[in-house]
Amino acid sequence: MQLQYFLLIAAALFCIGIYGLITSRNAVRVLMSIELLLNAVNLNLMGFSNYIDPVEIKGQVFTVFVITVAAAEAAVGLAIVLSIYRNRDTVDMEQFNLLKW
């Protein structure tokens, strides 16, 4: 009954990430929430790899890729946040609603 706990924790982490993703006003905190999501996924992958595929551990390979891609994504995300900040002098998500109807 170990896997379920891992999965539940990962799901909880994912939900916390989603909550943060949708409610945060700070753009950097949104990126942080995305990281939470990715780490929740990573937990899932690790859990499945351990309990279902302990021989070939393809899940761990996935996790490595996710971590690297996530790092790159976070870098690009921070770059975007920076460029917006240079123009608008704020990282408040609620100020970024120019592209509406």
Binding site: M93, F96, N97, W101
Partner: protein, 620 residues
Amino acid sequence: MGQFFLQSAWLIPCYALIGAALAIPWSPAIIHRTGPRPAGYMNLVMTLIAFVHGLFALQATWNQPAQEILIPWLQVAGLDLTIPLELSSITIGATLLVTGLNLLAQVFAIGYQEMDWGWARFYSMLALFEAGMCGLALCNSLFFSYMILEILTLGTYLLVGFWFSQPLVVTGARDAFLTKRVGDLILLMGVVALLPIAGTWNFSELAVWAKTANIDPTVATLLGLALIAGPMGKCAQFPLHLWLDEAMEGPVPSTILRNSVVVATGAWVLIKLQPVLALSPLVQNAVIFIGAVTAVGGSLIAIAQIDIKRTLSYSVSAYMGLVFIAVGTQQVETAFILLFTHAVAMALLVMSTGGIIWNNITQDLTQYGGLWSKRPISGICFLVGASSLVALPPFGGFWAFLEMADNLWTTRPWLVGVLLFVTVLTDFSVMREFGLIFTGKTKQMTERSPEVHWPMVLPMMVLMGFTLHVPILLWQWQLLPSWETLNKTVALLLVGASLLGISLGATIYLNDRWEKPITLVWKPLRDLLAYDFYTAQLYRVTIVFAVAVVSQILYWIDRFLVDGIVNLVGIATVFGGQSLKYNVSGQTQFYALTILTGIALFGVLLSWPVLSRISLIIGG
């Protein structure tokens, strides 16, 4: 030779049509330089040709059995629309009456319309009428009679609306068209319903069929009622009579034609339909009732008019009512004689008064007076026309009345009473008109009143001569009762009624000491008659009001409900677009939420079979 003219009798209506077409180029918009008179002259020549043709044809058909010509028109599927023409003494005689009266009216119009530019329009309309009526007389089919009646309705509209710059003319023409149209439309129902029942529209075949027909009495009644509605409107019978009053706004020469023969077109069809109408006693009673009411009402109203033309028009309604009575009591021959004598006499009366109007300007009877010494010819013509109209022996109208009263004497004596009443009233009415116009003191409007010039006097005189010959003609045609079979009681009653009416009228209106205007009768009653039983108001509060309300409601439904539903679709779409666009909030996080919600819902949807079982397990 005569046979040739008889076989080509179908040309008689065509002459007039050619004349109508030839007159059009002289409309002011096409030929400006010569003036419009050639239009009139050409139509005159065409009518003369038609008249002469009719004379020759009449000679050929005299004392001969009726012949029939069939002109193919249209044959589709099960329907054979061939135009049957009946060539008998009566039909050819009717065309002669029409062309003869039209000839006189056209000569009269040369004088009367002297200062008018619209000859082309006027004469082509008159020619259209002549063609229509000759066609109606010759045509032996109910269907084509109906077609011609409709064309004549349109003709009435155009002819009454001749001087269309006058507002009363426009309303009069409108009423004349619509009133007659309503009757014609109901007639159309009858015409259409008759074909499957009788299998033919041919009048002579209908008469044969009606002899042995065995149809449901309700059907016969409804059919008959529909068939009399057309003639009712055409003959200006109650309650479809207002149009004739308003049609008096048209030019006088056309009034000659209308009062004498146009209104008779309805009676002609009614007479021809008599065998079909005889199928239902209820219809016959309805015809008699309508006729009697109109005869009494019309002659009462005629007394209370002060317009010289309207006085005569109500007498026309009354006399057409008598024709209705004759048809309702199955006296076809009497009806024909009555139509004939009435047409001649009424044409003479209208001509005479038309000449009076022409150079006294006013039509108000109360403005006239003292014209006898200045206008002897018009006066004599009026007297002859009047005597010929009412039951005064030995003039024409008397014999028609006599025959009718004689036939009614045993079967329906109360109708003889109606006849006598109409006689008294019409006598009184024409005497009143004569007294007011020709006797008494000269008034301002009649101070200088020369006799009119020859184009108006000539047709008047010719027609007077003919009117005087009517009894001789009737005698020649053996239509007069012989002295032995003469119902002397009836004759005496009629003469007595005439004398009563004349002496009453004479006492009041030929008597200078009797103060004019007469105020004998209680004023509301006088107003009731003078305003034609307030028929115009009656129309306005019933039919016109109902149709107006219904059309307003329908307009509203169309405008707001039908259009509204379609517009609502458009508005809802626009509203949807306008309001749903706020979903594009510009907030990235909102988009993310939307995506997640979508995925979550989709996931629930996909796994619904599993989920429902879980809930079942939990619940169970």
